[in-house]
């Protein structure tokens, strides 16, 4: 076989290698602490990626207002990268953050699929990764550098099942899940298990895809089975429409849901159709807790809209990281200084990141806006879930369910 293409192959290889080699200067960075954040700023999940970014930005803005944006004398900088909603791009974004920007912590991502692509990279590099809202249990199983600020699917699904069984005394529930969302599928599964274990019956199980506009066929099929309630563990982007359509078709059963419902858009889209429905969340907006109310007001002032659950979780993720860094600066100043970008690539830095990891893992009873956060031995947040009811077009606190 003739190898006429060899010159072309070698040439292109050489070109590529040269081009990249030219750019691989090891950066002796500035004296600052860099934190990385990655999410979908473009793509169909952009609304959640942007929420995450906003939550982190608010935390940084508050740090700037409070202490000039410095921790332990070193300025803090946040670099945000876009992963376009694709797992392979999440891996790229994180690689860039780790190697080009020399970050000491990575915050991200919302979707478990993208967190799962990026987590092994952070684990291998010895840099802590804090996911604000990935709920697939497997994310933190990747390694001991991976943390999450939210409850995992098994917990939240069980919460709503318990609520349905005990507080609402329901026996027959239908499920309408978002097949494209890992979060929704997981939640539905755990709800089903818990509900059945408590003696309940799942009378129908239907699915839709995120982005769908029309749910009439699924709801018609559900209506035929006469459920007492419908569990819709999806995102607010579809839930409002589902509620409307259900009422149009004459389905009066209340809807139940998870924290994916949380957003100011939920009631805007769903309107009256959502009255009488319940969902679990991290915080209740009518909770007079000054910290929560302060967060809600500041967010609205800075971005012009109310935060959704994801923004709140990202805000907490950033603040937990800042708090751990403060602690480290106070207790172990030389180690803390090794976190600076000037020490990029040194073993001191790796040790410093390891220490940071330990501090994050030791988070106990941190009062965040999304609840009282304690990280358990699997590095998942255990905190009580709040169940909200929608009454008269408003979200009203109903009850708290502890883990």
């Amino acid at each position: 076989m003739k190898f006429r293409s060899m010159p072309a192959v070698l040439a292109s290889l050489a070109l590529v290698a040269m081009g990249l080699l030219a750019g691989c200067s090891s950066s002796g960075g500035k004296s600052e602490i860099v934190i990385g954040e990655y999410g979908s700023l473009t793509g169909s999940d952009a609304t959640f990626g942007q929420s995450t970014k906003m939550g982190v930005e608010l935390a940084l803005a508050e740090l700037t207002a409070k202490q000039g944006g410095k921790i332990g004398g070193l300025p803090v900088r946040v670099v945000s990268e876009d992963d376009q909603g694709k797992p392979e791009e999440a891996a790229n974004a994180v690689q860039k953050l780790l190697n080009q920007d020399q970050v000491v912590t990575v915050i991200g991502e919302v979707a478990s699929s993208r967190s799962l692509a990026a987590a092994p990279i952070c684990q291998q590099a010895g840099v802590p990764m804090v996911s604000p809202s990935s709920t697939n249990p497997r994310v933190t199983e990747v390694g001991d550098y991976i943390f999450r600020m939210c409850f995992i699917d098994p917990f939240q699904g069980t919460v709503m099942a318990k609520f349905a069984l005990t507080n609402l005394a329901l026996k027959k529930v239908a499920i309408l899940k978002d097949i494209k969302s890992d979060y929704s599928v997981g939640l539905a599964q755990f709800f089903t298990d818990a509900f059945r274990a408590g003696g309940g019956e799942i009378v129908a199980e239907q699915a839709y895809q995120a982005g769908d506009q029309d749910f009439s066929s699924q709801l018609t099929a559900i209506k035929a089975r006469n459920p007492e309630a419908i569990f819709v563990p999806g995102y607010y982007t579809e839930v409002g429409l589902i509620a409307r359509k259900a009422r149009e078709l004459g389905l009066t059963a209340p809807l139940l849901g998870g924290d994916g419902w949380e957003s100011e858009q939920l009631l805007a889209i769903g309107g009256e159709a959502l009255n009488g429905s319940y969902y679990s969340n991290h915080f209740a907006v009518d909770n007079p807790d000054p910290r929560l109310q302060g967060f809600l007001q500041k967010f609205k002032a800075k971005f012009g809209k109310e935060p959704d659950a994801i923004a709140g979780l990202a805000y907490d993720a950033a603040n937990v990281t800042f708090a751990c860094m403060e602690k480290m600066a106070a207790e172990d100043a030389p180690r803390f200084n090794a976190l600076s970008a000037t020490h990029a690539g040194t073993p001191e830095r790796k040790a410093a990141c390891a220490k940071l990891r330990d501090l994050i893992a030791a988070t106990q009873g941190y009062e965040g806006v999304t609840g009282n956060i304690t990280l358990d031995e699997h590095r998942n947040a255990t905190k009580p879930a709040v169940v909200l009811e929608i009454k008269g077009g408003k979200k009203v606190y109903n009850t708290t369910i502890k883990p």
Binding site: T42, S44, A46, T47, G49, Q50, I179, Q206, A207, Y208, Q209, G211, D212, Q213, D214, S216, S217, Q218, T220, A221, K223, A224, T237, E238, G240, L241, R244, K245, E248, L249, G250, Q265, A268, I269, G271, K305
Partner: protein
């Protein structure tokens, strides 16, 4: 039984939306042999333009059918202009190029509209004001039709009927038919091919925009990526009915809507998108010209 009938009603309503979008596809393809990938995004644009128009005339405060009509017509008009701009700047230069190039251009325009939409409107889904409050009309046998669904159906059919009249009985309409048969011959007959093409785009875009507004009145959530799937499915519907054939697009759209709703309700909702393509493959294997199409022998 009532479940089945309800599904049918749902399917026909949804299908009429596909039909509206499919009309634009079929007309543009008939004239230019181009699959206008960006057509689905005009549907999206129509919904957003409708949103801003309704804000401008404060329709949300005192909703009324008249205001809804104003929003609809304004959106149709403005989208027609957008269609004209797209045709002039993106498609006209590639009219003589190989078809794959034109296809790529169309894809580029589609991406531009979607991502431009994200930049302009933000990635958050937006809420379209409920200009026509929803009321249920029982049809008997346990089947309900909402007044919104009825409006979608009626307006779609009215627009399709008007289009048919236009194409069949007016001079310009006949000119459009002529251009779709053969550009050169039409030009020799004194028809300004450029103008007809532009007009076709404008009409197609306005119909897609109408579909967008009608859907938004019914399902008030709109976001920049909402046009992709309906666009593709509408194209399949156009092929189903015979591409280039106007009544065919209508029938294709209705078949598509019913098939999709039945599959979603009785088989599995997760195969909803796939059914469109399965239908496509089946029809292309069995009867490539579509339901109403005529098999045209390719001249060498």
């Amino acid at each position: 039984m009532s479940e089945f009938l309800q599904q049918l009603v749902n399917g026909v309503t949804w299908g009429s939306v596909y039909a509206l979008i499919a009309l634009g596809y079929t007309m543009v393809y008939g004239i230019l042999r181009l699959i206008n990938f960006a057509h689905g995004d005009i549907y999206m644009l129509g919904a957003f333009i409708g949103l801003y128009v309704s804000r401008f005339i404060r329709a949300g405060e005192n909703p009324s059918p008249v205001k809804a009509l104003v929003v609809l017509l304004a959106s149709m008009l403005l989208s027609a202009l957008v269609g004209m701009v797209i045709e002039r700047f993106a498609y006209k230069p590639v009219r003589k190029s190989p078809r794959l190039s034109a296809l790529i251009t169309a894809i580029g325009v589609s991406l531009l509209l979607e991502n431009g939409g994200v930049l302009l409107f933000g990635a958050d889904p937006r809420f379209f004001p409920q200009l026509i409050p929803s009321r249920n009309i029982p049809l008997g046998l346990g089947v309900v039709l909402s007044n919104q669904q009825l409006i979608v159906l009626v307006v779609s059919l009215a627009l399709m009927f008007l289009l048919r009249l236009f194409v069949t009985y007016t001079r310009t309409g006949k000119a459009m038919q002529a251009v779709s048969h053969n550009h050169t011959a039409a030009a020799l007959m004194g028809i300004s091919v450029d103008r007809i093409i532009t007009l076709t785009f404008m009409i197609g875009s306005s119909l897609a925009a109408a579909a967008g507004v009608l859907v938004a009145l019914q399902s008030p959530k709109i976001e920049p990526y909402m046009g992709i799937m309906p666009g593709l499915k509408a194209f399949v519907a156009a092929v189903l009915g015979g591409i280039g054939n106007i009544p065919g697009a209508v029938v294709g759209g209705l078949v598509m809507g019913v098939a999709e709703v039945l599959v979603t309700g009785y088989l599995s909702p997760t195969y909803r998108d796939a059914i469109a393509f399965v239908l496509l493959i089946v029809i292309l294997l069995v009867r490539p010209a579509g339901i109403f199409g005529k098999a045209v022998a390719e001249k060498v």
